[in-house]
Amino acid sequence: MSKIGVYVCHCGENIAGVVDVEDVRQYAEQLDGVTVTRRNLFMCSDPGQEMIRQDIASGLVDRVVVAACTPRTHEPIFRTTLEKAGLNKYLFEMANIRDQGSWVHAHDKYGATAKAKRIVASAVGKAANLHPLEDKFVDVTPAALVIGGGVAGIFSALELAKMGHKVYLVEKQPSIGGAMAMLDKTFPTNDCSACILTPVMVEAANHPNIELLTCSEVADVNGYIGNFNVRIRKNQTYVDWNKCTGCGACAEACPVRTANEFNGGMDHRGAAYIHFPQAVPKKAVVDMSVCINCAGRKLGTEPRISKKTGQPVLAACEKACPSGAIDRSHHLPAEGTLRDIEVGVIIVATGYQVMEKENFPEYAPDSPNVITALQMERLISATGPTGGKLLRPSDHRKPRTISFVSCVGSRDVRHHTYCSRVCCMYMIKQARLIKEKYPDIRIFMHVIDVRAPGKDFDEYYTRARDMGITFVKGKVGGMEILPADQVRVLGYDVDLGSNIEVDADMVVLASAMEQPPTAKLLARKIGLSFDGAGFFKELHPKLKPVETAVEGVFLAGCCQGPKDIPDTVSQAKGAAAAAAIPLCQGKVRIDPTISEVDTEKCSGCGICTPLCPYNAIVLKTYSGRPRAMIDITQCKGCGVCTAACPSAAILLHGYTDVQILSQIAALTRAA
């Protein structure tokens, strides 16, 4: 006969304010197998745990039920208590009388108490039938995958590499750097973005522990913490990167002119191009979707021989390349090449996108002089389309009046309800940079309010006012297009209590940062979930900010929510530290509360294999007959197979039939 101790927690007033805890304790006293009942203000406190330890040490109890809060946060604490007292930690059961009792029935004290009793009875019923279980361990593949080579991914990769871990850094663009590479200067210090980012990019590329995989994407992910099998697709670049020196001759020679994404579409690049001047790696790619097969050079065909010269007629890029890196006679597969890698942990750092102006019909999206703030970064950058001279897109004249419009797509139920957090600051930054260089330009900042809560941020904002930048409190509701491509901003000044208009030469929209739609595909591959705003969801907003619901997968940077560079880098380093834990331990624990097949009972019918949501079950031949086998590293203990097996051959440890039936019996017995 088991000796069950029942410990009822007050959780301060959380439980005791509603549930009559003494009544519950007295009720537990008379349940079968219960030898000890106690209560405490906080069972998870030292004295609370000490109570349990004492009772175990003095031989009073050999099974423990704590009637308190949720096992999600507290089961690990009490299991450790049992372990320290020398009892198998799986001889523990939690009765959640708070989240499922006092909190949901706050207005019904009597009912909440009655329900608490049943929940306790059920836990006691199960506890009587618990068996000791043993943790299992598997080895960890000593390598990490970082997806996304923005500033977040770069820092996560570098941190892990410096700790001595092998890192694969996968970036879908030809170069790492992400959005930060597009910025001119950065608040709150106004240091040049390229000047602080380029050295880190180079460091990452040169680090012996980092393998840089650019133009690459994650095609598939399988496995479990410690042992992920990842298939990487290297997209076709049509340039032999082993030979390419990044001289840019092909880009210059290419006759195609297509919108240059890196410069916000405000200038052009060739079909052959280099991502941006400081690209790392500095390698050329050919964008086949816009290539015009100049010189009739179809891919995978031998060149024509010129009748005049007797020489082969080559495409402009081929001809220009001094190192022979482009050869269109090769038949290169358009879908690129696949490669499988194995890693123990994954950090997702896929960043964000900004909303395009076409999403905002009220803000004159057809005017060339209405641009997004990210385009403005390029327009004032020395490597941008105008070489750093501020010229408006319509006529390449210097603007005299600029309006900045805040909260475009943020804090707006039609788009995103969240605040994008960085817009106020980057608007102020851009306004200051422009004002410093061109004091005669008049600048109006239309804001609902200015959000400058970071270190040194408010001082940065105040300085903008001192510089003569005008702040107008009031959201802009519309725009009209004036002759000569001016834009009339229809605004409202809350402080004046009056409608205002600005005849602006340029309008800058601080458009929202959002999760790009491609994130959905990646999420499906990895099993990540989204928060209400559409960003990747962390495991706990306060205590597990870089962990995810998928063990061994961590988040860094803006893919988890909008943030500035200081916060991005902090989080990236945090994610690296968290990801390093399994890598350092070398082993990961496998929870024993998973399913196991009794090979004697299994008939090999195979019903379970397609049902498993984690692909953990395979049929293997065992003494000449097919038998289901469960991979312990894949099984999550969901119990689907257990319920489905017609031969009752699958046992879910910790949730056996006897255990569950005893719970049901206790619940259905009147309290």
Partner: protein
Amino acid sequence: MQTVNLTQMDKEGIAEKVIAMGGEGLLNCVQCGACASVCPVARAGFSLYCKNLIKKLQSGYMEEILEDSSTWACQACNRCTEICPRDVKPSEVVFAFRRIQAEELAISTSAFTPLMSLYETGHAVYNKRSKELRKKVGLPETPPTSIGDPKAVAELQKILDDSPMAELGIFLNLMSRKQEK
């Protein structure tokens, strides 16, 4: 004193009333100002318009603004509703407030003429010269509307007679005249 003592503002029932009258989004407003920036009423310089009406109602103003006729300048253009980032539907708050003003008969006498005309002819706007104008352009003197259709007017009056509008006594004279007939 021009200072408003917020603790002494009696907000009792005001928001509930506005919401019940159709201004359902009243409490969602964050006073960003977007609606006012494009509101023709605000732009023309009227004293009350979407944004500041909403703020006043949220703050417990009612008697102080009940007689202000600016709300009757609202064009119902709905541009505010199209762009409000909080889905307040500001124009509906303006109309809810108008309905409250109407209930208190805090409306200008000129507002009654179209109502009377609506009740009598089925048309809020009617022009006695119209017969002449219609003839001039080659149309029958009477259009195929309620103006020449007593049955249609009677149907309309049945709807109006039992409406809250009738309870205000707006149509009292007309209703008794009808009964005399």
